[in-house]
Symmetry: C2
Subunit: 211 residues, 2 copies
DNA sequence: ATCATTATGAACCGTTTGGTTCATGGACGC
DNA sequence: GCGTCCATGAACCAAACGGTTCATAATGAT
C-alpha cells in the first residue's frame, strides 16, 4: 500500500517482489535496511532445503538470515511467501549452466546427475525434489514453480541427448534420466555411503550410453 | 510396568508392540477396547502418507482412526511412536507379493513400478519414499525401517531380472530400476496427468528390456 | 447387585507456533 | 542540530500444538 503524506508518496508494507528495498524512490530518506531480499533468500534456502516448510519455524529463519521477524514480515507476506520466493530463486538459479556447457552430451548429463548429491550434509539432494513431498500442504504456485523448472531441464536434457547418437527417442531417454534424477535426489536424504551413490550414477550412465 | 495387586498381576501403561490388546492374559476383565492396534495403524497410514509427520496433528489422527487421544497414547508412546509403527507396518505389508509372483521377469517389475501410482488422490506415490524427505527430523529408526525394506526389494528385483536374459549385471539394473521407482513415486506428488506417468513407466520398461 | 478393573473422552496444561504492535534507534535533508 | 521518516527488535498475542489427568462408563467375575 502506498500512502500520501504531506504531499509525498511513501512505500509501506511489504515491497513487491521486483523492487529492491535498498533503493529509495520517493520521499525523504529513513533508516536504511541492513539486509536485501536476495541475501535473505540465499540464507533461507538452506533451512527450507534441510527441514522443509512445515518443520521450519520463523525462529530458525531469523537465526539463519540474521533478520528479525518484523524485518522478514516487512519483506514477505508470511512464512509461505518466503518459502515460495526461496523455492523460486533456487529453481531459477540451479542446473541450467551445467546442461548448456559445450560440448553437449553424456558428460553434461553425468555432471547434472551429480548435482543430486547436494551441497553438504545439511543440504542433501535437491531442494525442489524434496519440496515435492510437501506439495499437498502448499499453494498451487509451488507446483507451478517446480513444474516449469522441470520442463526447462527436460528441454536441455533432450538437447544433450540428441548431441549423442542413439537409436531411441531422445525425449524418452530424457524422461528416464530426469525420473532417475528425482529418485537419486530423494534417496540422498538417507545417509548411506557415498560409494553407493556413486555406483548409482555410474550404473545409470552405463545403461544410458548403451541405448 | 506390571504391578501386583491382591496377589494378581495387571498390565498398565502402553502394551508392548507384540501384544494384542484384545487379549486379557491376567487379572479380571475390565472394559474392552473399541479398537485394535493394527486397525489404528491401517487408518493412520493414509494420513501420514498424505501429510507427512510434521503436518499431521493428533487431531487428524483422532478423526481418522476414530480413537480418542487417551486411547492413542495408551497404545503408543507419542506421535513419533505411532508414526514409526505406521511406517513399519506399511513397509512390511507392501511390494513383496508382486515381485515373488510366478513367472519372475519384466512383467513383475512393471507391475511393481505401477505400485508407485499410489492408491488414490490422497495417497500418492509411496509412503516410504515420501518419508525419506523427513528423515532429518526423525529418529534413526525411521531410516532403518526404510533401508531394510529397500534391501529386501532389491533382492527381489535382482531375482526377477536374473530370470530374464541380459548382458548387464542384474544388480546394476536392479539399482537403476529402484532409483527410477523412487523418482517415479516422489514425482507422483505433483498432480500431472496420468498419461505422462504411464509414459514414464513405458519408457523405462522399453529401455530396460533392451539391455 | 456389587466389586474390581479397564477403556474412554472431555477438560486441562504448558509450550510453541505464526504473526502483530509499538516504542526506540538511526540515517538523511535541510 | 533539528525534524522527518523508516527500519528495528523486543514485547506481545491468540491459536494450535503435543501430551496428561481424571471422573465416568462399561465390562467380567463373584
Amino acid at each position: 500500500m502506498n500512502r500520501l503524506v504531506h504531499g509525498r508518496i511513501y512505500c509501506s508494507g511489504p515491497l513487491a517482489a521486483g523492487n529492491r528495498s535498498v533503493f529509495y524512490c520517493w520521499g525523504s530518506m529513513g533508516r536504511p535496511k541492513k539486509f536485501n531480499r536476495e541475501g535473505v533468500l540465499d540464507r533461507a534456502i538452506p533451512v527450507f532445503w534441510k527441514q522443509g516448510f512445515a518443520d521450519t519455524t520463523v525462529q530458525h529463519l531469523e537465526q539463519a538470515t540474521g533478520v528479525n521477524k518484523s524485518g522478514l514480515y516487512s519483506e514477505f507476506k508470511d512464512k509461505e511467501d518466503l518459502f515460495l520466493a526461496s523455492l523460486e530463486r533456487y529453481a531459477q538459479t540451479r542446473g541450467a549452466e551445467i546442461l548448456t556447457a559445450q560440448p553437449l552430451g553424456w558428460g553434461n548429463i553425468e555432471r547434472f546427475l551429480r548435482l543430486g548429491f547436494g551441497c553438504d550434509d545439511d543440504q542433501r539432494g535437491c531442494f525442489a525434489v524434496n519440496s515435492m513431498r510437501e506439495l499437498a500442504g502448499l499453494p498451487a504456485e509451488a507446483q507451478e514453480i517446480i513444474s516449469s523448472a522441470q520442463q526447462k531441464l527436460t528441454r536441455l536434457l533432450i538437447k544433450n541427448i540428441e548431441a549423442e547418437e542413439s537409436r531411441l527417442d531422445a525425449s524418452m531417454i530424457a524422461d528416464v534420466v530426469l525420473t532417475f534424477f528425482h529418485g537419486f535426489c530423494i534417496a540422498q536424504n538417507l545417509k548411506s555411503g557415498k560409494a553407493s551413490s556413486e555406483r548409482k550414477i555410474k550404473n545409470l550412465m552405463q545403461v544410458v550410453r548403451k541405448l
